[in-house]
Symmetry: C2
Subunit: 196 residues, 2 copies
DNA sequence: AGAGTTGTGTACCGATCGGTACTGAAACCG
DNA sequence: CGGTTTCAGTACCGATCGGTACACAACTCT
């Protein structure tokens, strides 16, 4: 064997970033291959060679979203106290879902909440992604209970579910066009329910 | 002129109900005319004659959803106190989004959060529908402030936005498969933030 | 240079998309 | 009965869907 072949003529990272934005703005089913490849600046053939197919492209775009716009979640759980974790998480959600020059809302929510048969795999990918976020928060809160940071009787799962629910609601409101300032007020209000 | 023509061979109300369920389960873009008419038990021709087109069918399905599964909102604002309004609203959201034999989640949320070009009208219809719910709640809370039911300094708009946000979050969680009992706990937790 | 390998562009695939023209069938009226 | 009106089914429309076959270009290796 010999020869490593022709190098690709585009930046795969940039192309994936562009695809992520299209999925974010239009959802999985609303983003056609024509929309995606036009934004990525490549042809369908190149997309299939580089990323597999539409579903794989979506999976990779979500992974990029996870470590990019959604990375506030990982930073949040590193806060020293559970209260600060929740504050950072909700503030991060507000900021990411209302970022200028980015689609309003959250890819992990509006990417595919309900779908027809062909969009079912993407929907399930997002269900798993959202549940994973809740699990991460729950484990962090459980640790906080063990450390005495949260009251002994605190239900970590319930608290995590609450914070995640508010974050998802914020994402929906952002998709409706609600402003960053208004959503930050919502986040502040939600924290009034914090256990004593 | 004479003759009133052949009567339609199907129940338009039943057909609309079936269409509503398909939109609810699959979203606007995920619901094809083939899916819709199969569920409605009629042909495309009959659907167009009776309802106009897909977008009009969606509009009418949403109207039916509004006075059916989503009617808890109207009942909620009739509660005697603002606190009871919020309780009824959130409990109603929990119950409707987790109703057995119905799609999980809320048609007004997952019907179309993000969409491609062809789904933009439906998306805007839902944005308006959601904003309308918030306005209704806000007016009710404003009245509660005037009546002395809520503290004088209460920001009715902010409170309404908060309650709506939690309700939307509940809808997202329900679409992910979270149980009714867990979501009722979320609703209860959210109400801990209620103004003194 | 030549062989081997891989990316790219075109042109195309069958299937499905939302929507409609047309033909009868089924009802009402007189 | 005939005449009129409306609904229903078939068959079809152009456009777009996600995906691919194929020829060729561009690179590395010997």
């Amino acid at each position: 064997m010999s020869g490593t072949g022709r190098p690709r003529g585009f930046d795969a990272d940039e192309a994936l970033h562009a695809a992520m934005l299209v999925f974010w703005r239009q959802g999985y089913e609303g983003a056609s291959l024509a929309d995606l490849t036009a934004a990525m600046g490549i042809t369908k053939t190149s997309m299939y060679a580089a990323f597999g197919n539409k579903e794989e492209l979506f999976r990779k775009a979500l992974a990029r979203y996870d470590v990019g716009p959604a990375s506030y979640g990982y930073r949040a759980v590193e806060q020293p106290t559970a209260r600060e974790v929740a504050e950072a998480f909700l503030t991060g959600a507000v900021r990411t879902t209302t970022q200028p020059n980015c689609p309003a809302g959250c890819l992990g929510v509006q990417g595919s909440l309900a779908a027809g048969e062909s969009g079912e795999p993407a929907r399930e990918i997002l269900v798993a992604w959202r549940n994973n976020g809740g699990r991460m928060l729950e484990e962090r809160f459980r640790r906080a209970v063990e450390e005495g940071d949260l009251p002994e009787e605190t239900d970590a799962g319930r608290l995590a579910l609450y914070v995640m629910t508010v974050a998802f609601g914020i994402a929906v409101q952002a998709a409706s066009g609600v402003s960053r300032a208004d959503l930050q007020e919502v986040a502040d209000t939600a924290l009034l329910a914090w256990p004593a």
